[in-house]
Subunit: 131 residues, 2 copies
DNA sequence: CCTTGACTTAGAGTCGACTCGAAGATGTAC
DNA sequence: GTACATCTTCGAGTCGACTCTAAGTCAAGG
């Protein structure tokens, strides 16, 4: 029967994942998350697996993966073992975009440092003038 | 006194900056860019300075600076030399967010690599592992 | 003169990703 | 047994950042 022991309400799930209850329902509505388990009264119950999946998704989201792509990944996870190769390919593609993002940020960092140096120079110049 | 020799039309400016003409006008409309020069017929003319400012803005945008913050920076640039200290402070703040972004991406990269390794293992052993 | 094409404006529409609100059912505390 | 919290659905609203449309001006080419 009800063998779900460590199942959380949507509120608790929200706290554990850092999302809002609105967002959790929204994710489910757009088909991002599989229909989550329900209690007898129709209330959602989140398993530990659900929570860890959501946490993983958050990571992908935070690194600029669109909901559509996250969705694709989730579908593969749900489809099961046979999709391991595809999942790996998807992760490798995302890995590459993350690497590119890092590289771009590092380029920008150099630019920022260059500009900061510029402004520091200006300040020193003014100090000399006004000293 | 008409020393503007290399002034570009909005079309040319769009090509040089990688933005669309729509976006260039939009940026000006929301007060992000100073009112740009106009030809006798009222058409916009972009100076080399305008172009290089826009290119710099693009950099900030690409690294997640909001239009509001970019706007703040542009205002300081327009206000002139006296704002060098403020500009440097703003850049230093942005530098810090860029550094944080890089760090977060690197954490994610490790996670991705770990998962990729997982899937590689699955392929080798055809074993069941959850995402 | 007429068409073509680049420009102008103000305002409306789109898109991704939430975020909120209304209306109603149910569970728990006093 | 009634207040109150928490859940439910579904639809609408918001926000940032564009993106596009309509209606109009103007200069040059055939």
């Amino acid at each position: 029967m009800d063998t779900i022991q460590t199942s959380l309400t949507i509120q608790e799930a929200a706290e554990k994942t850092g999302l809002t209850v609105h967002t959790l329902r929204y994710y489910e509505r757009i088909g991002l998350l599989m229909p989550v388990g329900r209690a007898a009264n129709g209330h959602r119950r989140y398993s530990q697996q659900d929570i860890s999946l959501i946490r993983t998704l958050n990571r992908w989201r935070q690194t600029g993966m669109s909901l559509v792509d996250v969705q694709h990944y989730v579908r593969l996870v749900q489809a099961g073992d046979g999709t391991a190769g595809e999942r790996r390919a998807l992760l490798e593609a995302h890995r590459q975009t993350v690497v590119s993002q890092i590289e771009e940020l590092q380029t920008t960092l150099q630019l920022i440092d260059f500009k900061i140096q510029n402004y520091t120079d200006i300040e020193q110049k003014q100090e000399k003038v006004h000293a």
